[in-house]
């Protein structure tokens, strides 16, 4: 499959994300924030970083980039979209996902290997995992606290839309230890930790993140 990775001004992890896409067995296609052409991709990754310098709010300005008009339209038709860290923030600002991400409750930037439980595995990004799988991937954020009102949180839990949850301590004050969520259909997934930094033994805490990039193929053939 062709997987587009968007580069915004201030994206940091677009190159790592493209590399992870390739290692996961798919073709990585660079996409540019100022271009609304998705170049025929089958899925899109919005990578981590500090797009537009995090000015105003994280993801608030990226949401209005020309490429996002196309991404929002394609997501509405069912195209798989994965937002990692800053990408998750952009998906929330775009209203493709509910809630918002605010400054970590302890006010410090956190960078560590984080244990997670993968809870929703019927999405195109997580089907390679067994339900309840416990994995370790990199977490690095300053504004990673997931918040939403109680009704929205209950809805997410009730519909099984919590994709990943923090284990061994909440690193950023996210409500109900939520590390990642999906839309109702499951094609749009937002995740605060970085699976693209955990796809090779040489660097990072291991290869537990690879499943996010191999799931696409499994999903396509399922």
């Amino acid at each position: 499959m062709k997987v587009g990775v968007v580069t915004f001004p201030g994206s940091l992890d677009d190159v790592d994300a493209r590399r992870a896409v390739s290692i996961g067995g798919n073709e990585a296609v660079p996409l540019w924030h100022g271009d609304d052409d998705l170049r025929g991709v089958d899925a899109v990754v919005l990578p981590g970083g500090f797009s537009y310098g995090d000015y105003l709010r994280c993801g608030a300005i990226s949401r209005f980039a020309p490429v996002m008009t196309s991404v929002i339209e394609a997501a509405g038709k069912g195209m798989p979209v994965l937002g990692i860290c800053n990408g998750f923030q952009i998906l929330c600002e775009s209203h493709l996902l509910p809630g918002a991400l605010i400054r970590n409750d302890h006010r410090k930037f956190v960078c560590r290997d984080q244990r997670l439980r993968i809870e929703r595995v019927d999405t195109p990004w997580t089907s390679a995992y067994a339900a309840g799988a416990e994995v370790t991937i990199v977490l690095k954020n300053g504004e990673g606290g997931f918040v939403a009102d109680e009704a929205t949180l209950d809805l997410l839990e009730g519909e099984g839309r919590v994709v990943a949850r923090y284990l061994d301590g909440n690193p950023n004050g996210s409500l109900r230890d939520i590390a990642g969520i999906s839309n109702e259909r499951g094609n749009v997934v937002g995740l605060m930790p970085h699976p693209e930094h955990a796809v090779e033994d040489l660097t990072g805490p291991g290869t537990d993140g690879l499943g996010f990039f191999t799931s696409l193929a499994e999903h396509a053939f399922a």
Binding site: L56, R57, A60, F64, C92, E93, P98, G99, A100, I102, R103, N104, D105, H106, R107, G145, V147, A148, D149, G173
Partner: protein, 93 residues
């Protein structure tokens, strides 16, 4: 030319770590009167011509669309003659 101000504040139920940090610093500096701090944003917008209901309606839309995130923030729009810089200048700061 007229000025419209948009104030954006975190909703009361949303944790405000920055405001908490400021509140925590005050007693250390000897300021004991302040019991709570919430940190928000102020936008000073300049528009051509007079402020009409139509202008205010558009500014409300700007505030709702871009300047604030309704999931976590409240906003308030009002007309204000003087900028903070002008007020500060007149006060001799």
């Amino acid at each position: 030319m007229a000025r419209v101000v948009v104030d954006v504040m975190p909703k009361p139920e949303i944790l405000d770590p920055q405001g908490k940090a400021v509140l925590g610093a005050l007693p250390r500096l000897g300021f004991d009167l302040v019991t709570d701090v919430r940190q928000g944003k102020r936008f000073e917008l300049q528009v051509d011509g007079e402020i009409t209901d139509e202008v205010l309606a558009e500014i409300e839309k700007v505030a709702e669309t871009l300047l604030s995130n309704p999931v976590i923030e409240d906003f308030e729009v009002h007309v204000e003659d003087r900028s903070v810089a002008e007020v500060a200048h007149e006060a001799g700061r």
